[in-house]
């Protein structure tokens, strides 16, 4: 292996990335906008999870003037947002399409409401409404206790997920799709005609992508932290190590996809086939706690699952490197397997 040749390809790939203004901007802008968007949405203590429609309401602005007939504990509950409709037909249409969870006719006694039997949210709101109408139990059956210690905001929990997701897309498409395109248009064939070896080429692609991923990560982190002020309870160095292991692993997975093929369409489908389940099952947006055991077990085949688990342990729980060592070890093992598979299958022109 000649380092000079590896360095030449590493530099060429980096230049391409930094000079492709559209892709370069998007790599930073995409995670930044998502984080910023969620930061604004979840700024309050509560989120309005349930939507209740009211009719007849002449004007949207007058919704809150027409709720006297509803118990204060229901209408004033922060998890509920009220939406006004002029007619029952309009409200029922929205209810049928699950755009609202419950529909109430104003000023009726007893209260008349409609709810969809197929809507889980509807059943919860119905319970809330019925509970608000029943006089409170005089006995002290419940005792509210506050959570002790660290309280993690949703945005703090979400942040590593969005960074990991961005890393995954960038690694898979930035290597997988790009190398397949190069094979299709003959760039790889031109490189094959030189003394450059497949190992040197793949190593340059791997190192370049890891460098770009970590560079993007640091810039996005600093930008988001400056605006939203993230809480990191663990060591930043440990977090860097976790993300480095994750980016190496996912770039290696990109190399496996890039190892063969000349069809960009097929590769695109393959990348979607891998990235979409990974995005939903690796807990980028929501926890899969409580999901069927087989689903939770199958989520462990994805590198993103282990990256996010380790990142959240460090960032949200303040764990040290030792605590996340199992996840790092799994990521390293996966990296090794992907690199072996990618190097074995790699072809310059098939």
């Amino acid at each position: 292996m000649r380092f000079k040749r590896l360095w030449a390809i590493f530099n060429a790939r980096n230049r391409e990335f930094f000079r492709d203004r559209a892709a370069f901007g998007w790599n930073f802008l995409f995670p930044f906008l998502i984080i910023l968007g969620f930061g604004v949405i979840f700024k309050g203590d509560y989120q309005s999870q349930f939507k209740v429609g009211l009719f007849p309401i002449d004007h949207a602005a007058s919704v809150h003037q027409s709720i006297d007939f509803l118990p204060e504990s229901f209408a004033g509950f922060k998890a509920i947002s009220l939406v006004g409709f002029e007619t029952r037909a309009q409200g029922l249409d929205k209810l049928k399409h699950h755009k609202i969870d419950l529909l109430i006719e104003t000023g009726t006694q007893p209260i008349r409401y409609w709810v969809s039997d197929s809507s889980p949210s509807g059943a919860i709101v119905e319970r809330l409404l019925k509970g608000a109408l029943v006089p409170p139990d005089s006995g002290e059956r419940f005792q509210k206790k506050d959570i002790q210690g660290i309280q993690i905001r949703y945005i703090d929990w979400l942040f590593p997920g969005v960074l990991g997701m961005n890393m995954m897309f960038s690694a898979l498409y930035g290597v997988g799709w790009v190398v397949v395109r190069y094979r299709k248009n003959g760039v790889l064939k031109r490189l094959k005609a030189t003394p450059l070896t497949a190992f040197e080429y793949l190593a340059a692609q791997l190192l370049s992508r890891i460098f770009l991923l970590m560079f993007t990560l640091v810039i996005v982190w600093l930008g988001c932290d400056w605006i939203l002020g993230f809480r990191v309870y663990g060591s930043l160095t440990n977090l860097f190590i976790v993300f480095l292991a994750g980016s190496t692993c996912m770039t290696s997975l990109g190399l496996v996809i890039a190892s063969r093929g000349t069809s960009e369409e097929f590769t695109n489908g393959l990348l979607n086939f891998i990235s979409w389940p990974m995005m939903f099952l690796s807990e980028v947006w929501f926890s899969i706690e409580g999901a069927p055991a087989w689903l939770q077990a199958s989520a462990k085949i994805f590198p993103l699952t282990h990256l996010l688990k380790a990142a959240r342990q460090v960032m949200n729980e303040g764990e040290g490197l030792f605590a996340v060592m199992p996840e790092i070890a799994i990521l390293c093992a996966m990296t090794l397997a992907f690199l072996l598979a990618g190097a074995t299958m790699f072809s310059w022109n098939k």
């Binding site: 492709d20 760039v187 030189t194 003394p195």
Partner: protein, 300 residues
């Protein structure tokens, strides 16, 4: 007739086959290519030229056969000593012409000065431009510069002037002639007969995966197409001319005379008082050789 001087073979191609399922793209080709020769591989599209040249370049594997370079099987050093210009190649995006040359030069041990190559291939005006922004002719010259970066002993040029306008084609030929004058071995594929006649010392004509003729261009023409065609305005020749040696036929308002003895025919025409300013003489080309050997045109 220009004889080909016996030269030490740089390349020995021994019984090369390449099959794609039922298609025999290359069907038992054997030949040697001498050091310092400009060797042309001619044939219509689909004849197997590119497949054969890519097998020789070690880009694709043959189904069977052997290639020897300097008398031995090609080793890692082969890549250091050959320069390749492919028929269709994209370049790394978002790099300038100079950066592209710089990147590729780092892949070799022994390289030409980039400044010299930029000058040789007339890339001075575009050397700071991105690869995607240069014209077709400039791109071909850049690809040629890349093929010459490592001071190659052997240069492969696969259809180097395809798609270029006549001026750009002639510019490229001038550069190839300069490379040829430096004593390097050139293996060139083309379906432009003029290109082969102007550049090559030795040609092989391929059709359906086989080499059907081999020799110097003049030699092939001499062997296979001895007749020239003279075209004379019909109103200048008597209806039944006597003493004209050759095959005569009428095409529109002209008479065509195909002959092996042009001088005798010209003398006879002059004696008949034919105004020679209206006479066209077409000498045979490699195109005619191909037509004669296969019954088809090279561009079919």
């Amino acid at each position: 007739m220009k004889a080909i001087a016996p030269m030490k073979p740089l390349l020995e191609i021994i019984d090369i086959h390449k099959h794609y399922r039922r298609l025999r793209a290359v069907d038992g080709v054997s030949m040697t290519i001498g050091q310092g020769t400009c060797f042309g591989l001619l044939g219509p599209n689909g004849a197997g030229k590119t497949t054969l040249i890519e097998i020789i370049e070690d880009i694709i594997d043959p189904t069977g056969g052997t290639i020897l370079y300097k008398g031995a099987r090609r080793a890692a050093q082969f890549r250091q000593e050959v320069g390749i210009m492919f028929q269709q190649t994209a370049l790394l995006s978002f790099l300038t012409v100079a950066e592209t040359l710089e990147t590729f030069s780092r892949l070799y041990d022994n390289t030409e000065s980039i400044g010299h190559l930029i000058q040789l291939c007339h890339l001075e005006e575009v050397n700071a431009q991105l690869n995607d922004k240069i014209s077709g002719g400039q791109k071909q010259r850049l690809l040629l510069a890349l093929a010459l970066l490592n001071r190659p002993e052997l240069v492969f040029l696969d259809e180097p002037s395809t798609g270029l306008d006549p001026q750009a084609r002639r510019n490229l030929w001038d550069i190839i002639k300069t490379v040829k004058s430096q004593g390097r071995t050139i293996v060139l594929t083309t379906h432009y007969m003029e290109e082969a006649e102007k550049l090559c010392d030795d040609v092989a004509i391929m059709d359906k995966g086989k080499v059907i003729a081999r020799g110097a261009p003049e030699e092939l023409i001499q062997i296979h197409c001895q007749r020239a065609t003279l075209s004379v305005p019909k109103d200048q020749i008597p209806e039944n001319p006597e003493g004209l040696q050759g095959f005569i036929n009428q095409r529109g308002d002209r008479i065509q005379i195909r002959t092996e003895n042009v001088n005798a025919v010209v003398s006879k025409l002059l004696s008949m008082g034919v105004d020679m300013r209206g006479v066209n003489v077409k000498t045979p080309t490699l195109e005619d050789v191909f037509l004669k050997l296969t019954g088809r045109s090279l561009r079919e």
